[in-house]
């Protein structure tokens, strides 16, 4: 078996992985990026509408700053997020966007003067200042108080990923394409690389590294209807889980995006609604204001998706032979706007639906979109259980999203976390702890174990089809672990997944062709995906409350008294059929914002006695802070800058704020 040595192994070539790679490389470490596909084809490219960063340049963003971004994100998370991490994020996001601006991303810019926009179904004129002309502009998105989503038409992720990839090429970082990590190499509480399969030749090889960083994105493909790319099967999270040591956080927190086109599930951006688009029902009635008078179409995604499904269940959907759906109406935005700011949306409608959104309605229904959960890390991006194992981006539960992510906060997380974690990876490699201590024989033993696992599938003569079992898994997740969850349905999902797991031990192949063999790929991935699916279903069954995107119809209230905690799943017994769940408390007494109403959605929740105590404490602390310096007030409540790398600690300049 070939063994490749490097300082840093980054698994995943999307925005998060490449930014972490660039950070570690700048500090003088050799980095190799592994990617299932050419890096520029990673799912980051699918981010359409924008990246949240509180620049506050345009008129709709004026008055925005880190404090407002922080508040929106914590409310969006339904108080499930780590508030210190949210602070680190909100503080670094403007730096991330400015770095990308210098590197070449053609962000849309503020244009001075008046123009007509669409708000609440009506035309309105706004005027941009001359001072802001040429600075980065932003658009409105759900769950935010300001226009904060910086964008490049509706190809934001594409433009960011191309710039990032090109800078990684400039830095001389090799991307080993069509390579799949199928197991982590670990000894005791230390991870030192991965066993990797070549998806062209089928060869198995080992990469030994001081630091290993998983940046493989989400796992939407455990669902049948998902906006995710077909490579988003969560294998990075699965191999971390399969170490038996590393934990996955909040796996039951799954986001459903309101506007997947129906029935294909392809995403059309939240920017459609941010720019003034409306949701209509079967009678072409705009129904969101009936449910959510405060934020209407621009409540957070979990709330809008729930309201849509509720409205369909009440008999107001549009009936079609594929099932029921609702309409997204962007006709009122006009041809010019659609042709310049929503052109990918236009293409998607044209090619996949045969409709022209300038004059036609777009059929939509919520579809699985994002995994808030993932590999649990500390604020530095490292697994608390496995030293030398880092994770970043959607693959990680760093935990800035809690139980619901705001639109535009995911691409922002990828680059922000990449900047921070790239630096902590370099620190780790520089420390004595970073030394590679692994014996070659252990590497060989891991390689042999994986080769035997593959051979058991290839030569075992089993009778089950991986394609068939994958379909059954996806169906049960979409049917039973969706937007509205209930104990009965969740129990059914857990039992179904247990039986599928049993059956997956008897997989067989119809063909043993040389090379990667797509049937073998489906087979070994299925075993990891079933474990992830079980973490989601079992975690959802155990969490008897409703928080953010996790909604239990049989426990409809948020329960701060009993569930102010993060779920941690591990899989210590490889032959076991359920994860081990433990819970990590979220301490209200250290929060900058104690739990409350989000400003949209349900007003009814079970309060924790600490909430009032902490609020009183906050009032006292603030009463003792001299002056109205917002940085000093924040610092007094919950310091966070010491957690950031030195060069990211300074304040961000804004128009009218030094």
């Amino acid at each position: 078996m070939q063994i490749i040595y490097t300082d840093v192994l980054v698994i995943g070539g999307g925005l998060a992985g490449q930014r972490a790679a660039i950070g570690a490389k700048r500090r003088g470490h050799e980095v190799i990026v592994l990617s299932l596909v050419p890096a520029k084809r990673s799912h980051s490219a699918a981010a359409q509408g924008g990246m949240q960063a509180s620049l506050g340049n345009c008129i709709g963003g004026s008055g925005d700053n880190e404090d407002v971004h922080f508040t929106d994100t914590v409310r969006g998370s339904d108080w499930g997020a780590d508030q210190q991490v949210v602070r680190m994020f909100a503080h670094t996001a403007p730096k991330a966007i400015r770095e990308l601006a210098a590197w070449g991303v053609p962000w849309n810019r503020v244009e001075r003067g008046s123009r007509e926009i669409t708000v609440d179904g009506k035309k309105k004129t706004i005027t941009e200042s001359g001072e802001a002309h040429g600075l980065i502009t932003s658009r409105n998105f759900g769950g935010t108080q300001k226009w904060r989503a910086c964008y490049v038409s509706d190809g934001t992720g594409h433009a960011m990923l191309y710039t990032m990839s090109n800078q990684a090429i400039a830095a001389g970082i090799p991307v080993h394409e069509r390579m799949e990590a199928i197991a982590l190499i670990h000894e005791g509480a230390r991870c030192q690389g991965a066993i990797v399969r070549n998806l062209i030749t089928g060869e198995v090889l080992a990469y030994v590294a001081k630091a290993t960083c998983i940046a493989t994105g989400g796992f939407g493909r455990i669902y049948r209807v998902s906006t995710n790319a077909i490579i988003n099967e969560g294998i990075g999270a699965a191999i971390a889980l399969e170490t038996g040591a590393a934990t996955l956080g909040n796996m039951e927190a799954i986001q459903f995006h309101p506007t997947g086109i129906f029935p294909a599930g392809i995403l059309v951006t939240e920017g459609c609604r941010g720019d003034g688009g409306l949701l209509l029902d079967g009678a072409e009635h705009r129904f969101m204001p009936d449910y959510e008078p405060e934020k209407t179409e621009l409540a957070s995604r979990d709330v809008v998706s729930r309201r849509m499904e509720e409205h369909i269940a009440a008999g107001h959907g549009v009936k079609s032979r594929f099932g029921e759906h609702l309409w997204l109406d962007i006709r009122l935005l006009g041809r010019d706007h659609i042709n310049t700011k929503l052109r990918e949306v236009k293409e998607i409608c044209q090619y996949f639906l045969g409709v022209d959104p300038v004059k036609d309605l777009i059929p939509v229904r919520p579809a699985q979109h994002y995994s808030m959960g993932g590999i649990r890390t500390d604020h530095r991006g490292e697994s608390p259980q496995l030293r030398g194992l880092f994770s970043v981006g959607e693959a990680a539960c760093w935990d800035m999203h809690g139980f619901n992510r705001l639109g535009g906060n995911s691409v922002a997380e990828t680059v922000v976390a990449g900047m921070i974690v790239g630096d902590t990876i370099a620190d780790f490699c520089d420390s004595p702890e970073g030394a590679v201590t692994l014996s070659t024989s252990l590497v060989e033993a891991f390689g042999k174990r994986e080769q035997q696992r593959l051979a058991a599938i290839t030569d075992g003569g089993g009778s089950e089809s991986a394609f068939e079992l994958t379909r059954l898994m996806q169906q049960t997740m979409t049917d039973n672990v969706g937007i509205f969850r209930h104990a009965d349905r969740l129990e059914e999902a857990v039992a179904t997944l247990q039986s599928l797991q049993q059956r997956s031990r008897n997989l067989g192949l119809r063909n043993k062709v040389a090379g990667a063999n797509p049937e073998l790929v489906a087979a070994y991935r299925l075993q990891g995906m079933l474990k992830l699916a079980q973490c989601v279903a079992f975690g959802a069954l155990q969490r008897t409350e409703s928080r953010g995107a996790h909604f239990r119809a049989d426990h409809p209230r948020r329960d701060d008294l009993n569930w102010m905690c993060r779920t941690l799943a591990s899989w210590p017994d490889a032959r076991g059929d359920l994860p081990t769940l433990t819970y990590e408390p979220l301490d209200i007494m250290t929060m900058e914002i104690p739990p409350g109403w989000r400003g949209y959605g349900a007003k009814d929740y079970i309060e924790h006695p600490d909430t009032a105590r902490r609020q009183q404490q906050i009032d006292e602390i603030l009463a003792n802070v001299q002056g109205d310096d917002r940085y000093a007030r924040q610092e007094a409540l919950m310091p966070f800058r010491h957690l950031l790398p030195d060069e990211l600690r300074r304040n961000n300049q804004r128009l009218g704020e030094q």
Binding site: W103, V110, I136, H158, N166, I230, V513, P518
Partner: protein, 249 residues
């Protein structure tokens, strides 16, 4: 959905696919024909996956986003390069022939190594912003202003998804392996337009001022005709050639 016309009776598609597995010494390139019952709103993404799951699990092809934005699934569809994921079978006749994109290394069947080709092109043409102080940019301060219109023009050229359809449709690329293709020349025009890139025309001439670059183009316009993103490739090449001629003399 009322908009989607229902075909009166489902057609049986006859899909002929180029088959070859270079990893298998016994494999010979050949066409294999499959029969498949057409479904409503069936794309080639759905059709190929159904063939692999139900008929031949060894079939190799590449899809990632399946939404027409990542450029993975470029292939020759009835003689023309295009993105398979957004090609609806109802727009094709019953006889469909699929072949891998030419000019790229074959991985197997319909899968080709566009990633390796594109990385090579990027390294050779240095398709990134060149600036002395890039690592020292002060990211705490306000960003450099840029004219809104210029930002939009740059994005127009940056919409390229490196799918390889322009290379497959290019006469020069078929004859001259070193030719950087419309994809490469378009990227040069993108960075030339960008004020953040400090390179001047003489620098770009060094990169594309010969017949592996802008002077290799025979103006057959296949690239622009076949570009799934409708990029103005021929115009960009013509514009670049005029600039490069000026530098050359």
């Amino acid at each position: 959905m009322e908009q989607i016309p229902v075909s009166p009776a489902a057609r049986t598609l006859h899909i002929s696919i180029f088959r070859h597995n270079p990893q298998d010494p016994a494999s010979e390139p050949h066409l294999q024909t499959f029969e498949l019952e057409e479904a409503d709103t069936m794309t080639l993404f759905i059709a190929l996956n159904e063939l692999r799951e139900k008929q031949d699990p060894t079939l190799q092809f590449d899809f990632v986003c399946r939404a027409g934005i990542c450029g993975s699934c470029g292939m020759i569809i009835n003689g023309r390069p295009g993105l398979a994921c957004r090609t609806l079978t109802r727009d094709l006749p019953e006889q469909i022939t699929l072949a891998p994109l030419p000019a790229f290394e074959l991985i197997g069947d319909l899968s080709v190594n566009t990633g390796k080709w594109m990385r090579g092109m990027s390294e050779r043409l240095e398709t990134w912003v060149h600036r002395q102080d890039l690592a020292q940019v002060d990211i705490d301060r306000l960003e450099q202003a840029m004219e809104p219109e210029l930002a939009e023009q740059i994005y127009e050229l940056e919409r390229c998804i490196e799918c390889g359809c322009c290379v497959a449709a290019c006469g020069t690329a078929q004859m001259r392996e070193e030719f950087v293709g419309a994809v490469g020349l378009n990227q040069i025009t993108r960075f030339q337009l960008d004020p953040r890139d400090e390179r001047d025309d003489a620098d770009f001439y060094e990169l594309v001022g010969d017949d592996t670059g802008v002077f290799g183009c025979m103006t057959l316009l296949g690239c622009e005709d076949m570009c799934p993103k409708d990029l103005p490739l021929a115009t960009q090449i013509a514009f670049l050639r005029r600039k490069m001629v000026a530098v050359g003399y």
